[in-house]
Amino acid sequence: MSAFQVFLKEHADGDLLAWEHQLEASRRFGLTIAETEEAILGNGLLPARYQRNRQTISLSGQQELFRSQVAVIGCGGLGGYIIEELARLGVGRIIAIDPDVFEEHNLNRQLFSSPANLGQAKVEAALTRINEINPAVTLVPVQAAFSPENGAELLFGSQVVVDALDTIQVRIELADVCRSMNVPLVHGAIGGWYGHVTTQFPDDDTLQTIYRSWKSGKGVEQSLGNPSFTPALVASLEVAEVCKLLLGQGTPLRGRQLMIDLFSMEMHVINIQGGNRETA
């Protein structure tokens, strides 16, 4: 038994290791917090921060999440909540991509925005926040706009890509890059009281179908705006999809689109491929 394993055995409470001991192990053995987390999970222990994940996520599932990389395209309304939830869930590596800085009109809904960081890059604010809430997670900030030209480089190594963009054109380009890279894409879009979510698998042309009528410009969000609760909800639904994809469990929204109407409080699932499962 190594000195590290002896330390774990001496400090574990059942199969949990408290944060203070994780920090101490990191100091004593010259490891990063992330390396310590990997080693704790690898020795069959659970960092105590994840104890309420249990039953929903097994210890091996927690290890799987920690070894995963997820790319989040957009760090605004959807992206902020998505990154927060992925980090608290314990996804080990998050690539956060957004070219923008915070502006005042973001403050009504964008989780990482505050009066104090107006003008700051959204990805920098994301990094600060994630280092605060879960230092075991590595967030890679990329202050750039996603495009077909840089897409393959930005998405390289990610098991799942999450769409938190705010233009339809770039969403369609992202979906095409994901298909060519053989990586699943969790898609969400919002406007006013309304939103939708679906998951595109690499063999599917889901976003092409959803946006087949689109010609140019924005959707109804341009006139409806975006209140605080719609991005929070749609982001959470997207993260649930990511979690299932990473764990290989549950039933994702493949070939199905969840339509959300918070004004009427109705949700409908429609079949994207045009079959008979539509319930609307």
């Binding site: 957009g74 959807l78 938190a164 705010d166 009281w193 010609k215 959707g219 109804v220 079959g275 609307a280």
Partner: protein
């Protein structure tokens, strides 16, 4: 011919949730949208009897048309 029209999300505002309407033969999905003053640029998912169609799709007696607005915000 009678067509059942279901509207969703912001399309309901000032209109209706579901209505059965008498249209002349040859009416297309785009014609229905025009009569309801739904801008073509806002049309998202369009389903006829649960199948995805485009705006030029010609409706027939007994069809159920569902219209969702285009959403792209994030």
């Amino acid at each position: 011919m009678k067509v059942t029209v279901k509207l969703f999300a912001s399309f309901r505002t000032g209109r209706f949730d579901i209505e059965t309407v008498d249209y002349p033969a040859g009416t297309t999905v785009a014609d229905v949208a025009d009569r309801l003053e739904l801008p073509q640029s806002e049309l998202g998912i369009m389903l006829v009897n649960s199948r995805h169609v485009k705006a030029g799709h010609v409706l027939i007696e007994g069809d159920t048309l569902a219209l969702f607005p285009l959403l792209g915000g994030g």
